[in-house]
């Protein structure tokens, strides 16, 4: 179907947006045509999320204007955007934990009885039910959102947007937390929406999605639009080059590594308060062991149990044959380090400086007497900043001002300074742009070449296959199996991870 001749349902023209000291968007224009999926790509910090926030009225642009079907319109608030028919599916969840599903879907738009203006619960739940059915979600609308898993919450976000009967739908990495089955369902809905003539703007970091779903691709870099082209005409390499602005060496792959050393970390029959059951695994010095599985299969809980963040209810964790006490302070002193899933909430103190964050785990080791010397600390921090190539003004800069990739480097760097030998990575490259991802893989590689041991959790099977020596697969809080190097490919991993229907 050729929609090029018709005026786009919504256009942004010449949008510029400044924050204190930062030019987030620079004269960006984008057209959203009905029945089309317009992919938006770019590194983190390129301006994709900012553009989407302008689109839905949450941010006001400093320059530029909107056009709806060729006519200029004013969008000064989220209400204005909603009136134009814009709905957004967010990456940071916009759900209220203590409200039930129906309330969350209709937040701010609750159906009301005529008199006396009170909420009509019956109608709200009926309409919520029909939206959920469309997505194939079999959950009671009275359930409170708080208890739902990440993937289910994402699906509720999608239901919320669908219920607005939007003409223009904005999707910000909607599949990041979804399983294969849920992703398929979403793609079916998107196909339906295309047929209905809905225009969609879709942010994605996944090449496969871009090519299978997208009709058109726009690449942003440093706040500017660098290219727009039909999806069929683009190639992966070309897109990456456009995003990064330079040729990216995607050549990292698992090189030949020296034979790995003795077993340094072992779980024996571990069950924990996080829900894992009877998990046993081994990690040797010099190897990268992957931990794969669907969202909710218990991978994070395994890492937390090893580190002592969750208490064990059965079994034990052994480091060099010695049983761990199950407290993070003890784990740290025995050479373990955890790089958590959510670096902003669990990995860093954003209000503190880069240097403070880098030193926090290494304090006992570097200042064994208990006396802290700021000058020495600064020296340690500076040297780590340059070793890891953290893009910052210096150790005295506040951590919250760094990009996602650099913040991740701080988290890794803090364990390096602590003399960690066993690293537990939980989704190390989530929300990080292409260039930084490669750097992190190289970093992990260097760690194991130095004799460290790495356990790496990742939802991207391709990543697991590229980087790991072998992998355990979790399913429903237990170990479903282990895949040896020779058999390490996406199909095998997926087969072990999936439900038996």
């Amino acid at each position: 179907m050729n929609h090029v001749a018709q005026a786009p349902l919504l256009s942004l023209k010449g949008i510029t947006k400044r924050f204190t000291g930062v030019l987030a968007l620079d004269q960006v224009s984008i057209d959203l045509h009905g029945g089309e999926v317009h992919m938006l790509m770019g590194e983190n910090g390129a301006g994709k999320s900012t553009l989407m926030k302008v689109l839905c009225g949450a941010y006001q642009p400093d320059e530029g204007h909107f056009e709806s079907e060729g006519r200029p319109v004013q969008v000064r608030s989220t209400a204005d955007a909603q009136r134009l028919g814009v709905a957004v599916i967010f990456q940071e969840y916009s759900l209220v934990p203590h409200l039930n599903i129906a309330h969350n879907i209709y937040l701010g738009r609750e159906p009301r009885r005529r008199v006396p203006g009170l909420i009509d619960h019956g109608r709200m739940h009926r309409e919520a039910r029909s939206v959920l059915d469309r997505l194939g979600l079999d959950i009671d609308t009275h359930r409170v959102v708080e208890g739902l898993g990440v993937a289910q919450q994402q699906m509720i976000e999608i239901a919320k947007a669908l219920s607005q009967h939007a003409r223009i739908l904005v999707l910000d990495e909607p599949t990041a937390a979804l399983s294969e089955r849920e992703t398929e369902r979403l793609f079916e809905v998107i196909a339906d929406l295309k047929r209905e003539g809905v225009a969609m703007a879709y942010i994605s970091h996944r090449m496969a999605e871009v090519f299978s779903l997208g009709d058109r691709v726009t690449v942003l870099r440093d706040g500017k639009r660098v290219a727009t082209m039909p999806a069929g005409q683009a190639s992966a390499d070309e897109l990456v080059t456009l995003m990064v602005g330079r040729k990216v060496d995607m050549s990292y792959h698992r090189g030949e590594r020296p034979a790995c050393g003795p077993c340094v970390l072992e779980l024996r029959g571990a069950s924990s308060t996080g829900g894992i059951r009877d998990v046993s695994l081994k990690v040797h010095a010099g190897e990268i062991v992957g931990l794969a599985g669907l969202v909710g299969s218990g991978r994070t809980e395994v890492a937390r149990a090893i580190f002592g963040a969750d208490a064990l209810t059965a079994g034990e964790v052994l480091v060099h044959g010695e049983r761990l006490k199950g407290r993070p302070t003890d784990s740290r002193s025995k050479g373990l380090g955890l790089i958590p899933e959510s670096r902003k909430q669990q990995g860093l103190a954003l209000a503190r400086t880069v240097g403070d964050n880098l030193l926090i785990s290494g304090l006992r080791k570097l200042f064994a007497s208990g006396l802290y010397r700021p000058r020495q600390a600064l020296a340690h921090a500076s040297s780590m900043v340059s070793t890891m190539r953290i893009a910052t003004r210096g150790p005295r800069q506040l951590s919250r001002h760094l990009s996602g990739g650099n913040q991740q480097k701080i988290v890794i760097g803090k364990w390096l300074l602590a003399g960690t030998r066993i690293y537990l990575f939980d989704e190390p490259t989530r929300g990080i742009d292409v260039g930084a991802k490669e750097e992190i893989f190289r970093l992990i590689d260097k760690l194991v070449n130095d004799g460290c041991a790495v356990l790496m959790i990742s939802s991207e099977l391709g990543e697991v296959v590229r980087v790991c020596d072998r992998a355990y697969v979790m399913k429903e809080k237990r170990v479903a199996g282990v895949v040896a190097r020779a058999d390490l490919d996406e199909t095998n991993l997926l087969r072990l991870a999936m439900h038996h229907e």
Partner: protein
């Protein structure tokens, strides 16, 4: 004035401290112009003595707040510790015994608060407010409406005495400031306290013993309340059940005016010192100008609001 100070390249904490010192000097200058008695040696020394007492109490509170907690029981702690110390001193005639009991009582209360917050996981506000009630009741019951007067001169020296022409509590104040600042800035424990207050979960996952640090700061707060109770007792030379009721709010005011954030992770003892001085100077000024004591809570409230709001606005403007 903010932009003027920004041109002198200082770290934000130092900038905020400098601003507060300037405000203090301005208020002082204003009072000096309006009241001839303000700059009198007697008045200034008394002022310093009072500020020292507030600071001693507020110093422990600063540590608790830095670590992400709150301690509302400090005033009641002062009362109980002072009354216990007084009783022991009267009974044994020994200032040393009294001091030991006062300090021990303060520490014990601190430990109870700390355990309630860290082991039983009661929210700090409720825990310390509950202990406040309990302490208040215990003190009242213990004293049974009596007052204890008259302590040995050796002891009274602590609160009313002079050394080198300066009131003794002032030396204590600077001593605590020095030791406390050294502790916060130059020990690993100090760094861990800041980290715990800034993001407790991240600190725990970085291997910081957050519960132990929290317990520690509550005990220090209790200990400082114990010390303050001795100074207070020495100055008043008498003990009764409801002594020190106004001190809690003054200490909280000093900490907040001094720039320590209630969210934890930012603040300094020097700031608290300046905050204590500002508060005391303002109250002193009101006395000199014969402003009815009824205005005190009003003015204190306004100052606290203004200083915290100023901090919030400047943080927003600098894009933090």
């Amino acid at each position: 004035m903010n932009t003027l100070v920004q041109k002198i390249h200082l770290a934000p904490e130092q900038r905020s401290l400098l601003l507060r010192v300037i405000v203090l000097l301005l208020i002082g200058a204003g009072l000096a112009l309006v009241s001839s008695a303000f700059l009198g040696a007697n008045n200034l020394l008394n002022l310093l003595r009072q500020a020292s007492l507030v600071f001693l109490l507020a110093s422990g509170l600063t540590l608790v707040i830095l670590c992400g907690g709150l301690d509302l029981s400090i005033g009641a702690n002062v009362a109980l510790s002072a009354c216990l110390a007084a009783t022991v001193m009267k009974a044994t005639g020994s200032p040393l015994a009294g001091c030991a009991v006062g300090l021990a009582s303060g520490l014990l209360v601190g430990a109870v608060n700390g355990l309630l917050v860290t082991r039983v996981r009661v929210p700090p506000f409720i825990a310390t407010y509950g202990t406040l009630w309990i302490l208040h009741g215990l003190t009242y019951w213990f004293m049974a409406g009596d007052t204890i007067h008259g302590f040995p001169p050796a002891f009274r020296f602590l609160g009313s005495g002079y050394w080198l022409g300066v009131p003794v509590p002032v030396f204590l104040m600077f001593g605590v400031l020095a030791l406390g600042t050294l502790f916060l800035q130059y020990t690993t424990m100090g760094q861990e306290i800041y980290a715990t207050g800034s993001n407790t979960e991240a600190a725990a996952l970085s291997g910081v013993p957050v519960l132990n640090r929290r317990l520690l700061v509550y005990m220090l707060s209790g200990g400082m309340a114990g010390l303050a109770s001795l100074v207070f007792l020495a100055r008043l030379n008498s003990a009764e059940g409801d002594m020190g009721e106004a001190l809690t709010l003054q200490a909280v005011g000093a900490v907040l005016i001094g720039g320590t954030s209630l969210f934890g992770g930012t603040g300094t003892l020097a700031g608290t010192l300046v905050g204590a001085l500002v508060l005391t100077v303002v109250l002193n000024g009101m006395n000199l100008l014969a402003i009815s004591a009824n205005w005190q809570p009003l003015i204190t409230g306004v100052i606290v609001i203004v200083s915290v709001a100023a901090d919030a606005l400047s943080r927003r403007r600098s894009g933090d």
